[in-house]
Every structure is written in C-alpha cells, then in structure tokens.
C-alpha cells in the first residue's frame, strides 16, 4: 500500500513526462503498447531467420506476395474475430458462414448473368447480406436468448454449412464471373500488390480505427472487461453484442466473396478449420480470451506468423507439417503470456 501512495518528486516528474508523451500520440501508444509489440518481434525474428536460411528464395517480391495473398482471406475473418473475442465471446461459425455466403453469392451472380461490374456488385452485396444475417442470428441468440456463444456458433457452424450443401447438392459452384477472378481474385495494383492484399489491409485499418478510436470500440472493450459496469454506464450491452456478431458475420461474408474471387469456385470443403485458425491468430496476437484486452495490430501479426512459418518451412525444405506443430506451440505460449500478465496485474 505505502509503495503506491508515496512517490518521490523526481519519479513523479518522469511519470508526468511519460503521460505527456502519451498525450502527443495516444492512439499510437495504445496500439504499440501491450503484447502486440512482443508478438511483432517474433514475426520479425521469423522473417530474419528464414531470410538468413534461404535468402534468394524467401526474400523476393513474389514470395512476399504469396504469403500475403494466402493470409488475406484469413485476415478479414480474424479482424472480426478480434472484436468478438474482445467482448469475451467466440464465433465458431465463421468458416461455414463464409462458405454459405460464397455459395449464395455465386448462385446470385449466376442468376443475374453476364460478366459486368454490376453482376459482381450484386454478388458482393449478397455475400455481405448472407454473412450479416447469420451474424445477427448469432448475436440475437447470444445476447437476448442468453445461450452461450460457444453453443450458438457451434450450432450455426453446422447449420450454415448444411444449408450451403443443401443449396449446391454438395457440388462446388464454379460459375464465377471471369472479371471478378481477373481483377479482385488474381489482379494486382501496379502489377505488384494483389487486390486481395490491399482489400484485407484496408479492412484491417478501418476496423483498427473502429476498435481503438471510437465509442463503438471502447464499448466493445468495456463489455469484455465488465459487462455489468458497462450496463450501469448506460451502454446497451445486448444491442452492442448483436452489432459485434453482425459485424463478424458480415466480414465472414466478405471473406467468402474474396475466396470466391481467388479460387473461382466455392471451396465448400475447404473452410472447416477457418474458425480455429482465426481464433488462433487473434489469440497469438495478444487478445485475451477472457475479454477486454487486445489490439488489431496484434491480430495482423497473429495472422502472419502461421503464414510465414508455412511458407518458410516449405522454402527451407522442412516438412510443412512442422508448421502445425510450431503454430500450436506459439498459440500455447501466447495464452501463457496472457495468463502471466493477468496474474501480475491482479497481484497488487
């Protein structure tokens, strides 16, 4: 107790200086403090190690492009998952919602026909709408019906995939407009940076501002930290949770659309572990499963660590199966660090 009440004047001055430092760039300090810095260093370390082991193959524009393109769709999902986990929730349905949105969007574009931007925009809106719908269902059941998020989203995980299979009869939909594949799917800006990567990072940037610099983001943290306190502060907790899950659903829908553009098919069977990959990325990025703590920058690092590992192992000739082992270990390490942080905070 006495150590917290007494403070030397010199010490106080240093703290004042620190606070003033924060005043100058509060948003940046909040982005850069916490565990995301540490996890960023791990990512940099991995890149350095692979660069040393195989400089010519690993350090090239085309390889960077590969890694980033592989990570782009997952990044969009992980951005939404960051919001969900910051509220101390979870969403297992993302992969199925992604597939469902992709299937319905493909059908819609097929029905409209043609190869114009109009068709593509219809597809995009349909994908976003499908995702939004599932998200609202999730959010409503979680906040109003008080069914645990794990159960609700496990249920919709099965339902969304089931409906996707019912719609297609289990056969992948391949009628995707060429224009979509040629531009968003495989096109590059200035022949260098893939559209997919630009879209994913733009989404991450917009949602980073939403999470860290708006009331919406602040309420997301508050609910994850202490739901009752949030309620007493006049925050409409139920409504906010529905919005968060709706956002998650919409981003899953967007990811479904991007996946459709990239592979020019619906890849129905290819997303059964998207949920776990997204959760792992978010948690590796320093977001606490207990809620109330997390950064979007950390999530970006968390998405790229598995992607870089996968790519690096292939390049240096290690069996790529080691990637799963390594990602598992990093995941456990990340949660352990979160536990350590919590323990040290509550000791006082």
């Amino acid at each position: 107790m006495s150590s917290t009440t007494e403070q030397e004047p010199e010490h106080g001055d240093v703290l004042v200086a620190q606070v003033e430092e924060q005043l100058r760039a509060p948003a940046w300090t909040r982005l850069l403090t916490g565990s995301s810095t540490f996890i960023g260093l791990i990512l940099v370390g991995l890149i350095v190690v692979f660069s040393i082991l195989s400089y010519t193959n690993f350090v090239s524009a085309s390889n960077a492009r590969n890694v980033a393109t592989d990570a782009a769709v997952l990044l969009v999902v992980a951005v939404g998952m960051t919001f969900v986990i910051v509220t101390a929730g979870i969403d297992l349905s993302v992969g199925s919602v992604l597939v469902f949105a992709g299937v319905v969007a493909a059908r819609a574009m097929h029905a409209v026909g043609g190869n114009s931007w109009g068709t593509i925009i219809v597809g995009l809106l349909v994908a976003l709408g499908c995702g939004l719908g599932w998200g609202v269902i999730n959010g409503f059941l979680i906040s109003k019906a008080k069914v645990p998020a794990l159960i609700v989203t496990l249920g919709t995980f099965g339902m969304a995939l089931g409906f996707a299979l019912l719609i297609t009869g289990g056969v992948d939909e391949r009628s995707v407009p060429f224009k979509l594949v040629d531009t968003i799917g495989t096109g590059r800006v200035g022949n260098q940076v893939p559209y997919l990567v630009i879209i994913a990072f733009a989404v991450a940037a917009v949602f980073a501002v939403l999470l860290h610099a708006t009331r919406f983001g602040r309420y997301t943290f508050a609910i994850g930290s202490n739901e009752e306190a949030a309620r007493r502060a006049g925050i409409r907790v139920d409504r906010h949770l529905i919005k968060v899950y709706a956002l998650m659903g919409m981003l899953s829908g967007l990811a479904g659309f991007l996946s459709l553009a990239r592979f020019s098919t619906t890849t129905i069977g290819g997303h059964s572990t998207d949920n776990l990959q997204a959760i792992a990325a978010v948690v590796i990025g320093g977001t606490s499963l207990f809620g109330g703590v997390g950064t979007l920058l950390g999530t970006i690092f968390g998405v790229f660590i598995p992607a870089v590992l996968q790519n690096g192992f292939v390049i240096v000739g290690v069996q790529p199966f080691w990637q799963q082992v390594a990602v598992g270990a990093v995941l456990i390490l990340a949660v352990y660090l979160d536990q350590l942080r919590r323990r040290s905070e509550y000791q006082r």
Binding site: T4, R218, S225, R232, A233, E345, R348
Partner: protein, 259 residues
Amino acid sequence: MNDSPILELRGVSKAFGAVQALYEVDFHVAAGEVMALVGDNGAGKSTLIKCIAGIYSSDSGEILYNGEPVSIHGPKDAAKLGIEVVYQDLALADNLDVVQNMFLGREETTSLRRLDEVDMERRAKETLQTLSVTTIRSVRQTVAGLSGGQRQSVAVAKAVMWNSKVVILDEPTAALGVAQTRQVLDLVRRLGEQGLAVVLVSHNLHDVFEVSDSVTVLRLGQNVAEFKTKETNQTEVVEAITAGKLSKIPGQPAAEVVV
C-alpha cells in the same frame, strides 16, 4: 451549509411482495452536507438508495429535488438531475484505464466521431486534482492495477465529474484497510466541502462520526431517528439502530418519536 434540502423524500414506501422494505420514510440532505445513512442489515438502506437512484420506483410517497417534486424512473433520470451513486462493487472495468473508466458511456468525441483522448485525459486529471486524489500515478494505467482505495477514488471521481449535486456512496470503506479508509474518508469530507450533498451509507459508526454532519437511522424499513452528529454519540446511535421506536403512524416525523 445551506439548510434547505436539495434532495428530500417524503413518506416513501416500497414493498416486495409481502415484505415491507420501506415504510413512510422521510429523508433529506442539503448541499454541502454529509448525511450518513445507517441501520442494521435489512433495515432498508440499499432499497432507499435504489429508490433515489431510479433502480426501484417507490410504491408511494414523493421525491423532491430543490423543493420540486420529481419522478425518477431510471438511472438516467437520476443522472440528469445530478444524482450519482457509487456502488459497493464499484462497477469499474478492470481492463480499461482510469480515463476510460471515468468517461465510460459518456465519451467525448471529435468532429469525426473519433474519441477525444487528449481532452478526456485532461478533464480526468483536473477532476482528480480538485478532489486532491494524488495517489494515482498515471491516469493511463488500468484500474486492475490500482489499490482498493484508489479504485474507490476513481469511482467517486467518475461520479462527481458530471456536475453532480448529490453523490450517494454505498459502503465506500467496507473492503478497505486502515490507510485506504483514511484516503476515502478524506475524499468524502472534501466532497461536502465542495458543496455537494453526500449520502454516506455505512455500517461503520467510527467512519460515520468522523465525516458526517448528520445521521439518519433506519430500522426495519422505517426511519427511527435523525441526529446532528455533533450533538450525539455512538451509544445513542447504536440504541436507535437496534431498538429505535417504530412509528406505524403515517406522517409522524420520526425524529420526534425518539428525541
């Protein structure tokens, strides 16, 4: 101290089914006055403050604010009048820092709907300074890292920063050690000195005698006594808490029954 009450309750009753939690309670507090509300467990202290805070609505009786009858149907109504409650379990979000907690639900934004962190931080510091809360080293540290007394200070600062006129503190020292209790009692006294009406709900008569100007005693849902702290002693108050005469006659001022 201004003697005309800023907040006054007249004949407030509240029943939960067959249980008469409050019966014809009169209560008042003036600006600059620290009014202690004491009573045994189940005497109706919590029910009374929840009626004032708008969490419960009373069955009968009236609430006057600045002499005008008002109806309080929810926490927002109370807040609009300038009545703030600091609950025993504080209701702070542990993972948020001091500034974020003080502004929770009432954040300031810039023209682009971005949070105005710089201004919020400045105002939080100013409020803590006017309350002479000096023990919090950085307003950007999370609340989880604060001591019990510091957390209580943040909760009080959060309550008074909205131009509030009446602050209700529910057992503010219940879970605190000696030094922290001292911090909080000093803070309570400063609130009164700054012209706020303070309602201090407490079990601890030592605390009550240290900071309050007046004491209202509740027993079994009725107010059985009211004292000026200077003109009474602990024995008299304990007597009222445990054996104060219950008046079942509506409208009769309780103070006259005892004194």
